[in-house]
Symmetry: C2
Subunit: 340 residues, 2 copies
DNA sequence: ACTGGCACTCTGTCGACTGGAGTGCCAACC
DNA sequence: GGTTGGCACTCCAGTCGACAGAGTGCCAGT
């Protein structure tokens, strides 16, 4: 049996009411709050069908209905109208992001903004090194056997690492190294660098080869292997809104999951489809987050995507509003990055 | 009336039992679990005195006693024996910190370690710029009108900032700037730099003065004014241990406080007395943390202190164990920094 | 100064009861 | 056939009283 328009309308009403009140919604209050044009009895029949199809369920007999994950999914896919941001929100975004002084600052401001606007937990990934190009590599002599390698990426990220050299290297040689490294690597996508780095070692005069090899290995480690993704998190206090009712009793598993960078990356990473992604309840594969939903999207200057951002909240979440906000913030951040 | 030895012993027993069981402790179970050598009735008399003095209280008539903040304070100051770390813990610390590859890594590992060992929320402050010296300043040309300023501190911290120049500056001039800036500032305490930076501008040839002034202002901002303290946080999930019993019902205020860097800095900063500090309940002035205790200490290479670290948990906390762990971790981190 | 005994108080729990909300079903209606 | 009003049923949440258990304070005795 397929769902006719009114049944879908009933589902929408249930989702909207439940999100707002956090209480199972019954047939009577539904017809009172929405103009469905039918009686409670009819709505009850529709509800029975919706329940049979798995979109809603009853916590117990003779309680109202609550949307299931599948119900939210249907709502998000087919029923939710885009909710445009209020001018106040737009202004908040602009005001918040203006005056950011460096990448760290941008990321921190963004994550706080996102947490504040959505009133959920926000996560922002730093621009991924894998999607960056080398803008410049700097070698700073710290002592005769130590140099600091500083990599500046076009996305604004700066990574540094200390290199212990096998033998003392005079300052002039460092200058030479720096020139050679930059000639080869500057402007290249980080993903493309490994063979080039190998080439650097091969092209090296035997005298300085040991030094270069050492440098190269740190380079590779920094740029590719450790491929350090970084992220910022904010708004964990928002998890406590709505009592302990969401998240079935304890925040524990959620807080634990939020401490694992790997998990967070899985949530907001995978940026392929460039569109906003919504993962509802079970859909994120992580056990600890069965009762949570994640709304995420990619961001970056222009049409390219360099990182992800998103928010996490209870499945009982204002999806249209959250989606709109996440998108808007991502676009603003992208514009900000483009200005560099 | 002063407290004789047995009364103190009773207080200690109460604290220890309450910390362990999280339940008000009564006179009978006290004499059963500890060798006090007196009867419950006697203990009750002692308890009455302790209560009158404000060290313990009854949640309600005919419940057992619970330590007050003052009780914990007395316990920490006079009653707790140092609890040496187990060899397993020592090994854990070493294993955890070994192989840290840069400062970020050290800080992150430390904060996780601390959270894990104490099973509380851990906070680690990055080495404070105010207590660092300039090791090297690097100027990296990004375009003709933009250079990136990279400051490397002796504590391992690296700060970078983009400088927008008022006019194009050729590469040679940048080299010259770099030399001049380093000659003047390298090796100086950051706190001492402001007059030196001013001197740099004054000594400048009129031709490059505008550029230098611009650089100087960013320098000052980066090094001193913004005086960016950074921190790392871990273990928030530990707040949920012991149900919602600690923290009087909601984690909300605690989580909120933990999001404020300023508050965290207040908690673990103020490193003057170089000894471990314990702030119990009301003693940290922050309203949101009335039901929390903080154990913090400074760390740094050798005897100097460059930053703070600590843990936060319910007032009902294993103080001796926590204090020992915090101290040990701080010492290990200090040693690690000294090796650089 | 300590102890045993005793009466008292308060909590937490259990069962019983009740009012309310919501449903499912059915017969009637358009 | 879809819709509706009516009705019996179920289940939850809250209230009440009773009760066991734990703990105290006090007092008289050692």
């Amino acid at each position: 049996m397929s769902l006719d328009d009114r049944k879908l309308e009933v589902l929408r009403a249930i989702v909207e009411d439940y999100v707002e009140t956090q209480e199972p919604v019954g047939s009577k209050s539904l017809v009172e709050r929405h103009q469905l044009g039918v009686s409670p009895a009819t709505v009850r029949n529709d509800m029975a069908v919706l329940e049979e199809e798995g979109y809603i369920r009853q916590p117990h007999t003779s309680a109202g209905r609550v949307p299931t994950d599948a119900g939210y999914r249907l709502f998000v896919d087919r029923l939710s109208r885009v909710k445009p941001l209020s001018p106040a929100e737009r202004r908040a975004i602009e005001r918040f992001l203006i005056g950011a002084v460096d990448l760290d600052d941008v990321v921190h401001r963004t994550v706080r903004l996102l947490a504040q606007l959505t009133r959920q937990v926000a996560v922002v990934q730093y621009p991924s090194l894998a999607r960056s190009s080398v803008r410049h590599l700097e070698l700073v002599p710290i002592s005769t056997t130590r140099i600091m390698l500083v990599m500046i990426a076009d996305t604004g990220r700066v990574e540094q690492r200390l290199v212990e050299l096998p033998q003392p290297v005079p300052a002039d040689d460092v200058t030479d190294l720096r020139r050679r490294v930059n000639e080869k690597l500057a402007g290249q996508k980080l993903a493309d660098t490994p063979p080039l780095v190998q080439g650097l070692v091969d092209d090296c005069a035997p005298g300085s080869r040991a030094t270069m090899a050492c440098l190269a290995s740190v380079l590779l480690e920094t740029l590719v292997e450790r491929s350090e993704e970084r992220l910022a998190l904010a708004g964990t206090a928002n998890l406590t809104r709505g009592g302990v009712l969401d998240f079935q009793g304890t925040l524990r598993p959620v807080l634990e999951a939020l401490e694992e960078e790997v998990i967070l990356l899985k949530l907001i990473g995978d940026l392929e489809p460039s569109t906003t992604r919504v993962r509802i309840g079970d859909e994120n594969q992580i056990d600890n987050l069965r009762s949570a939903s994640v709304v995420s999207t990619g961001y970056g200057p222009g049409a390219t995507i360099v990182g992800g951002l998103g928010v996490l909240g209870p499945t009982r979440m204002d999806y249209p509003g959250t989606i709109a906000t996440v998108r808007a913030v991502a676009r603003y951040v992208g514009d900000l990055l483009a200005q560099n």
